[in-house]
């Protein structure tokens, strides 16, 4: 009982405050997911010569609400052969890890549920738990496509976890902290994308793989494993996975903004904005503006994610793993090394930019030419096709 005493000493107000704030986070994130669903459908529609949703509400804004209601009202089918306990708990694990990440992601200086000094460590730690949920979902649904998808997700997510963590370490070294608020404050002058463009590219690509977005949507590939771990899920269970997927996408975009794009900090300092009519000097106005600025940045990053989805085909599992281990992991280690060198010798900031860009260009070039080979391939194919055409023309003239 002695050990429990500090826990019991937590006041009633604290408990109520915790519950209320968690509920607020849940509601806020749900609204964000609704907006993301709408944005994705609309953006994809426009990319694909369609209109996207138009019928439900203004510009189809109520479409995600209609989707959600439909999903919740649908019958929740649990296959007879499934392992019921695992089948039930898997979506909970996935959603839990997705929501827990957000406990420590700040939307602005003051707007964070519980700021942790080891915030980034906490985030990467909880991101891994989601994998367990996916594997369990595949296994518990007693479906071979589910098993395949679950194992694919384990392989994929664990491989891409490494570059993500390594880049996070590099950023932590630059800011000398894992506290996200400190990291944003350190980018007041120059966002880290200018210092470490390599880091941002690696983090963004690996992040796409982390949340299973095109071109890395291998573990739930519709045309191959028919939804993978989610194949047997329906109704509310499935919508929990869906929710978690979008929250994760949002989290990756938010992390890109926080770690590399300066979070909620404006590109201009106060002096440059002096000509503007001065805002009423109320604390929450400035806070609200910075939240809006932060959200704008996040949605811009998310739009890129959707844009990529509307453009690219999907990689194969072996190409995906090769890309992770041959390109992403070395690049992320390189990011740590150059950051260390830069910090140790205390060189000027531009040296880090140069080293980072060099790594990006050199490794990018090697990847493009040697591993994926499409550039060489395209040239080679075009040359051979030209030779073939010439040969056929010659033989036709001869005959």
């Amino acid at each position: 009982m002695q050990g429990l005493a500090p826990l019991l000493a937590v006041g009633l107000v604290d408990v109520i405050w915790m519950v209320v704030s968690l509920l607020a986070m849940f509601t806020g994130l749900s609204i964000v997911v609704l907006s993301l669903v709408w944005l994705e459908r609309k953006a994809l529609g426009r990319l694909q010569l369609r209109l996207g949703p138009t019928r439900t509400g203004l510009f189809g804004l109520l479409q995600p609400v209609a989707d959600a209601i439909k999903l919740i009202l649908k019958e929740d089918i649990i296959p007879n052969s499934s392992d019921r306990a695992i089948f039930w708990v898997a979506p909970v694990i996935v959603a839990l890890s997705a929501f827990m990440i957000w406990v420590t992601i700040p939307a602005t200086e003051g707007l964070v549920l519980r700021n942790l000094e080891l915030g980034l460590f906490y985030i990467t730690a909880f991101a891994v738990i989601g994998i367990l949920g996916l594997v369990l979902a595949g296994w518990g649904s007693a479906n071979k496509y589910g098993v395949l998808g679950g194992l694919r997700s384990a392989a994929q997510l664990i491989s891409y976890e490494i570059p993500v963590i390594m880049v996070v370490v590099a950023v932590g070294m630059l800011a000398k902290s894992l506290d996200l608020r400190v990291i944003v404050a350190a980018q007041e002058q120059i966002p880290y994308v200018a210092l470490l463009p390599l880091g941002m590219v690696v983090f963004f690509i690996a992040g796409l793989a982390e949340v299973g977005r095109t071109p890395f949507d291998i573990y739930h590939a519709e045309s191959e494993v028919v939804g993978g771990p989610f194949v047997e899920y329906s109704g509310a269970h499935w919508s929990v996975f869906f929710l978690a997927e979008y929250i994760n996408t949002f989290a990756i975009a938010a992390l890109v903004v926080l770690l590399f794009l300066g979070g909620w900090s404006w590109p201009f300092d106060a002096a440059a904005l002096a000509w503007l009519p001065s805002l009423p000097d109320i604390a929450w106005v400035g806070g609200l503006l910075s939240v809006i600025w932060f959200l704008l940045k996040v949605y811009a990053v998310i739009f890129v994610v959707f844009w990529i989805r509307g453009t690219f085909p999907r990689l194969r599992i072996d190409q995906l793993m090769a890309f992770a281990w041959k390109a992403m992991v070395p690049l992320s280690f390189y990011a740590i090394v150059i950051t260390g060198v830069y910090l140790f010798y205390d060189w000027p900031a531009w040296t880090l930019t140069v080293m980072s860009l060099t790594g990006l260009v050199v490794v990018g070039y090697i990847v493009y030419r040697k591993m994926m080979e499409p550039a060489r391939r395209i040239a080679e194919i075009k040359a051979r096709q030209a030779a073939q055409v010439a040969e056929r023309r010659a033989s036709r003239q001869a005959s």
């Binding site: 694909q48 010569l49 071979k144 045309s223 028919v226 509307g310 085909p313 999907r314 073939q388």
Partner: protein, 380 residues
Amino acid sequence: MAEIPTNLTANPPVNAEPVEMLLNMGPQHPSTHGVFRMVLWVDGEKIVDVEPHIGYLHRGSEKLCEGEQYHQVITLFDRLDYVANFNNELVYCQAVEKLMGLEVPERAEYVRVILCELNRIASHLLYVGTIGLDAGAMTPTMFAFRGRERIQSVFEAVSGARMMHNYFRIGGIKEDLPDNFEQLIAELLPLLREDVEESDRILTFNEIFLTRLKDVGTISAEEAIDFGFTGPCLRGCGIEYDVRKAQPYSIYDRFDFDIPIGLDGDCWDRHWVRVREMYESLKIIEQALEQMPGGEVVSSLGRRLIRPPAGEVYMRAENPRGEIGVHLISNGTDRPYRLKVRPPSFCNLSAIRRLLTDSWIADSVVILGSLDIVLGEVDR
């Protein structure tokens, strides 16, 4: 209650000794292009062996033909390769015409060629869309379907139906083209060329698409011939064989067009051949529109009850999917005695075991997509 058999097949494959997992793909898998079923023996993500199962769409079309009058059979041919209806109607009508020695009016021949080539483009556009889906890209489908929709609305104006047109007749076509056909096609062609170019640009040389398809599902020219490959699948192997050139039927000898051929016989080459064929079809349509004469569209014999003389005939034609053959035996009555179809999809599909063995699960989808099968034709 009868015990459910645990082994899905009577003869397990010989080279699948340590059977890791048996994966049933289809008939309701989203990328088996209809109701095709494959039983895959997989070792992790690698396919050890595959057993294809067809017949889920079997309607007994060949037998049904024996009970129908010659004109009524056309509707059955519409339903074989339901993506290329006009091409199917053409080969059947030509088989009967050959048996009867019937002369087809010039104008009818030109109309047939124009519609068939439009249908070839529509079919290949559908292929571009589905291979995009198989490789995981959603957008090419929408791009390709725009062009396909445009073609289909012209078909609707001509025949009254977007699919299953029932427009060709033995000895010609049902009725003359609508009055505004020239305007329709003049509007269609530039847009269609744009659509074809766009669906070419969005996929063909895309890096990820190329890495997914190049050196996947490779088959040598000799093997392809042994399997009875025809159409883009055979030409992808670098063999210049197109019935329109090798044994010109209808009026195809009057047009100037090329036969695109591939380099290595892999999925990407098959894709490339199909994309290039769309440009060639556009060329043929433009030439045919220039040369098209006026006049009758159906010979007077074709308007009567068809009673070909007893005998048999074999007619082949180039469908979007390959060479379609019709073997027709007549005993002098108003119904065919026997009608055998050689469907290109069926012969191309026969290599599925050879192509899928030792490939990845993800590749199986792409390979099947690159064969571009239509189950209505495979099962008949």
